[in-house]
């Protein structure tokens, strides 16, 4: 640390510098933590890349390295073989369901974000109900929903019971993200719009939605990906037709070929496309606004 002091005589001892000098010698902790970080990222991505690579083996391929040949055999196998189940159908359903969940999540989270701007009587009840929905064991909730449908004489299906069960998972996330987004929204913008004669709806359409657009994209990203990967709550509520994660689950139990990895590669590509589109559009919106900072 003494080196730091000597390095910055004109600025005195500065904190940023003592912990992480903005120039000059880095403290030893930097190297320790940088190694930790690198190890974490490697452990995070390493295994995933292993299965992506292994999914491109040829017909001799197995579940472990070394790589046997190179082909798209297991991808074709995935979508043509009956024994791997109805991958295509479940894939379609998952995408459709995720799109519906996304739209509903964005709309409801946005409205709830508006509602929670001011405190109102009983707001804590709603808030803690939401937290409850977030932390409740998914399988238990799913079973409860399944039993409820049974008791009401309804048959569970991916577009009814599973849709609701997934919303009970995506909405708490969406609203929490909305909270963070709203805390950066200056209520004076809304008031200014009203002052200039805008109706409530005009203020929402012309001011709130465009200003909050990046945040709403983030909510959409949460909605889509959480739904697309949801498993525990969907298991007891999807009815007779599987969603993709349920299909993968049944494959883990009875498929021992690289088909499984191929499916992993395919769904990850979809995820990456969605993430890329979302982050890209957020960046685009911010760029269009001249990289300005939103005043809190």
């Amino acid at each position: 640390m003494s080196a730091v002091v000597v390095d910055n005589p004109e600025q005195g001892i500065s904190a940023r510098k003592a912990i992480a000098p903005s120039r000059g010698k880095r403290p030893w902790t930097f190297y320790v933590l940088a190694s930790l970080f690198t190890a974490y990222v490697l452990a995070l991505y390493g295994p995933m890349f292993c299965i992506y690579i292994l999914s491109f083996q040829d017909v001799r391929g197995g579940l472990v390295f070394p790589m046997k040949g190179r082909s798209l055999h297991w991808f074709i196998d995935l979508f043509t073989q009956v024994r791997t189940g109805d991958v295509k159908g479940s894939f379609d359903r998952s995408i459709k369901l995720a799109v519906i969940v996304t739209i509903i999540t964005v709309v409801i989270s946005f409205l709830a974000g508006l509602g929670f701007r001011r405190r109102f009587k009983g707001d804590s009840i709603v808030f803690y109900m939401m937290i409850g929905s977030l932390v409740a064991p998914g399988l238990v909730l799913g079973l409860g929903t399944g039993l409820l449908f049974q008791a009401l004489g309804l048959s569970p299906a991916w577009y009814s019971s599973a849709l609701g069960a997934q919303l009970s998972w995506t909405l708490p996330f969406g609203v929490l993200v909305m909270f963070a987004v709203m805390s950066r929204f200056n209520n004076a913008w809304d008031e200014a719009a009203r002052d200039l004669g805008a109706s409530r709806w005009q203020a929402i359409r012309l001011v709130m939605i465009p200003v909050l657009a990046p945040g709403l994209v983030a909510v959409a990203l949460f909605g889509f990906t959480l739904s697309y990967d949801e498993f525990a709550r969907t298991l007891q509520t999807a009815g007779s037709l599987n969603t993709l994660p349920l299909e993968i689950w049944s494959m883990t139990l009875n498929v021992t070929s690289p088909s499984l990895y191929a499916l992993g590669t395919v769904t990850t590509i979809v995820s990456f496309v969605v993430i890329g589109v979302s982050l890209g559009s957020i960046v685009l919106i911010q760029k269009k606004r001249g990289a300005q900072k939103i005043k809190g």
Binding site: G12, I13, S14, A15, R16, A18, I19, A20, R26, L33, A34, F37, L44, P47, M48, C50, I51, V64, F65, I108, L111, A112, G115, F116, R118, F120, K121, G122, D123, F127, M129, I131, V135, A136, P137, L139, V140, L141, L143, G144, L147, L148, G164, L167, S168, L171, S183, L221, T225, D229, A232, Q236, P245, T252, L263, G264, T267, S271, F272, L279
Partner: protein, 292 residues
Amino acid sequence: MPSSSSTSRSSLTGWLYVSPLVGVLVPFFLAPILVVLAASFFGSDGFGGLTPGFTLANYVEVLHSALTLKLYLATIKFTVLTWIFTLLIGFFVAYFLVFHVRNQLLAIGLFLLCTVPFWTSNIIRMISWIPLLGKEGLINAALISTGVIRQPLEVLLFSDLAVVIAYVHQLTIFMIVPIFNAMARIDKRLIEAAIDAGASRFDILRLIVVPMAKSGIALGSIFVVSIVMGDFFVVKVMSGGGSASVVSAFYEDVGVLQYPTAAASAVLLTLVLVAIVSLILRSVDIRREITR
């Protein structure tokens, strides 16, 4: 009084805005929980049907079973181990990004790098450990070729170790994000002031960073604890059927249509979970922290 009418009017608009949210949570969170609660007091006809009534037999059965204790111990073991590892890794990764990376844009980029897998399939991320940890996996192969071991290690995959690895792999992100947010809000001048007062690096960590990141730690802990305690999937797959947790036993019960006992055990688990979460919530006003 006019003021009371204006507060009730603003309450009404508030409720109007959150009514769609409530409209989803009531049928798909509140009602299912109540259904499970009700089912836990019902009798079973042994063929998957429920016989309405009121009996505590299911609870007696669950509480008297030696298995229950074993399941809870296993669940707690997994929860504590996962919590410790995710907290340590999450805290120091966030600390590194906020206080050690000089370029802020780079810090945000690296932060996003950590969050991307969160948005991909958990199941796939879990399966992806197979080619690494398996009997003929990369790690065993590497250890054998370097001569550290002669026989492949069996404990790597389909063991408790594999379960914890999979949890930490999936859940560390839930620690990183809130802790990163909390740390990023720490005013850098505060740390400068501490340095001026002669605080060491460790003092700063102990006296400033940790207390001010407490809300993030609490929020992350809620996520990690509730997900691990509610999980059955990772335990089932990664332990290779060797271990069980409360929820995985619940899953088996449901599989053999033992609804009432399953429901009783689910209610007990939910109570434990509620107790833990409210304990954490007592230490931090989560709502104020999020909306701030």
